[in-house]
Point group: C2
Chain length 355, copies 2
């Protein structure tokens, strides 16, 4: 008869105590490095713990102490390299601080988002970092009222009184647009994103402002979905126009990729036929032909700062709310071309960062 294989039961503090001939209290003290235990006992019990393969049960601990180092992180689009880089930053900071990272992906879907937020609460996380899918205050009020510290990154929910970290979106788009205008482009188009996402709206405002200040230049805005196919379609529309724009600001990284593909497929030359400023620098943007001029966001830093802010908030719940806005950097490469006499106003090439 085959031996029935059962799941191994986990060693508990009780079993360690029995084997050691001490009380569970003592074992607990050893685990928690209490100074009360004699050195001799400590080493003896410690060895036994190692030997038996005892691992503390965090659920029990959590229940008893109501303290736990877990943080929920909820992304809007996990496969977007922008988010990935932020995630890397968050992970690094949380790891250093000894926090466990619970990860979720809302996929830009408010329903899914709520599911994850609830799950995080049930898991008892001591804080949540997330990129909200909508700008609707009421959607987040219930969670907010629970008192678990929240921090939104990249995007802002109007009226939600939580710490936030984001970039200066309107400025970023403003500078990108102005860069093109200074190079002599009068017909600069803009590929924007879903209006319910605050970053999309702000970048659009920056573009509009730049066009207005430059003498009320005619604006052309196409809205995409912030993904690659959206960028492709948007660029398609622009190219098919009777009076194709001479330059385009593309307001997000994936759409930039799609737009590039579209441009290549039409056999258009950058920057001669069409000039481009993209969003979010990526290590490979410098290897594109031509190397891409982009607005670079400090993504990794955004992640580390977000995590540190949240941990700080957990420790000091009553400190005033913080809203951090990081500045972006326009990295000028070769996708906008040059025009004599205007070079003085252009920033210098930034070397590619090795990440």
């Amino acid at each position: 008869m085959p031996k029935k294989i059962t799941n191994k039961e986990r060693i508990t503090i009780k079993q360690v105590a029995e084997k050691a001939g001490v009380s569970t209290a003592t074992v607990s003290r050893v685990i928690n490095n209490s100074p009360l235990v004699t050195k001799k006992l400590k080493t003896r019990v410690g060895r036994l713990i190692e030997e038996l393969g005892y691992y503390p049960n965090r659920s029990a601990r959590h229940l008893r102490t109501n303290k736990i180092c877990r943080i929920g992180v909820l992304f809007a689009d996990i496969s977007n390299p922008f988010f990935t880089s932020v995630l890397a930053g968050i992970e690094s900071a949380l790891q250093k601080a000894g926090y466990i990272l619970l990860l979720g992906n809302s996929n830009e879907n408010p329903q899914t988002e709520l599911l994850h937020l609830n799950a995080f609460i049930e898991e008892g996380v001591s804080g949540i970092i997330f990129a909200p899918t909508t700008n609707s205050l009421s959607r987040y009020e219930k969670i907010f009222n629970l008192g678990t510290p929240l921090l939104t990154f990249d995007r802002i929910v109007d009226g939600l009184k939580v710490d936030t970290i984001s970039i200066n979106n309107s400025d970023a788009a403003y500078h990108a647009t102005t860069h093109l205008i200074k190079l002599g482009h009068k017909d600069v188009a803009f590929i924007g994103g879903p209006q319910k996402i605050s970053t999309a709206k702000l970048r659009q405002i920056g573009y509009q402002q730049a066009m207005q200040e430059a003498g009320n230049l005619p604006q052309r805005i196409i809205i995409g979905n912030f993904r690659q196919d959206g960028g492709y379609e948007a660029m398609q529309k622009l190219i098919n126009l009777p009076n194709k724009p001479s330059a385009v600001v593309i307001s997000n990284n994936l759409m930039t990729l799609g737009a590039l593909q579209c441009i290549h497929e039409h056999g258009l030359l950058i920057p001669n036929d069409i000039a481009i400023v993209g969003f979010d620098d990526m290590p490979w943007f410098a290897s594109l032909q031509p190397p891409l001029t982009v607005v670079a966001q400090p993504t990794y830093e955004m992640g580390t700062i977000a995590a540190r802010m949240l941990i700080d908030r957990i420790q000091n719940p009553n400190n005033p709310i913080q809203r951090i806005i990081l500045e972006t950097q326009l990295i000028v490469r070769k996708s906008c071309g040059y025009q004599l006499g205007s070079l003085d106003s252009i920033e210098i090439d930034t070397p590619t960062r090795f990440i």
Copy 2:
């Protein structure tokens, strides 16, 4: 005197029971959708739960039932787009199955890896997906003996009897190398990776085999660190050689990026001066100049399958161990050049995937 703001206490089943004038058992039954409760009571208690903002405490639940839907995922390099894509696949599958994802990043550091694995165990995860940093069986034996289902992806630990999913690494490198040889290259170099990583070793073997079978062509292998700077340095070494190779197989994506940068900086032309086959297709590889010929791995699928395998294992602990090997695809673009008379043996261009 300022009112002392205290953290809101969380509503418990007991408080709901009191308010509702029922026992905690009844509330518990309502939460768990027990068919025993009358409809009327169910709706009444249900409404109260909603009203009071009650969230079940999963730690307590876990303690009591010893069941919990948490899975630990440990990556070796979270900022590598290859891993990111796998993560997206895992997340998607876990979300569908109702599992919470605990994420860690070992950063290729065995110490950090162990810390995370231990933390996962303490969190009581019902399974762990990870990319081992080493090929040392003894390193994972303790965790293995605990009985928590393990699954390694991308890499394999010799002798570790757990489910695995990986690609056919030697085949992939073999085909990449053969592709170049068939195009007429006799002097194909190889940029490899750390030997403690199984994928690096296997890809190297594939290269060696191809060179041997092609009439014992002279092999040139440079070992990099699987990161961008490593690829740069390795390519630098190759370029500085008195007899520079005419073609190079680069065994990972980040090193490909670095190698490209090096090639550009030296003003060399691809494929005329040097032909390239890279590893891991990325959406933007098609937009490079010239578009890159690569070995494409089904990364996202690897993630979804890994997650499903692990969940299956959790439910059927005694099923036989599975080792899944996914085939790769050589995507021929323009970084290897063409040679008349040899085109028949080359696969056809694959269209860029929209992810």
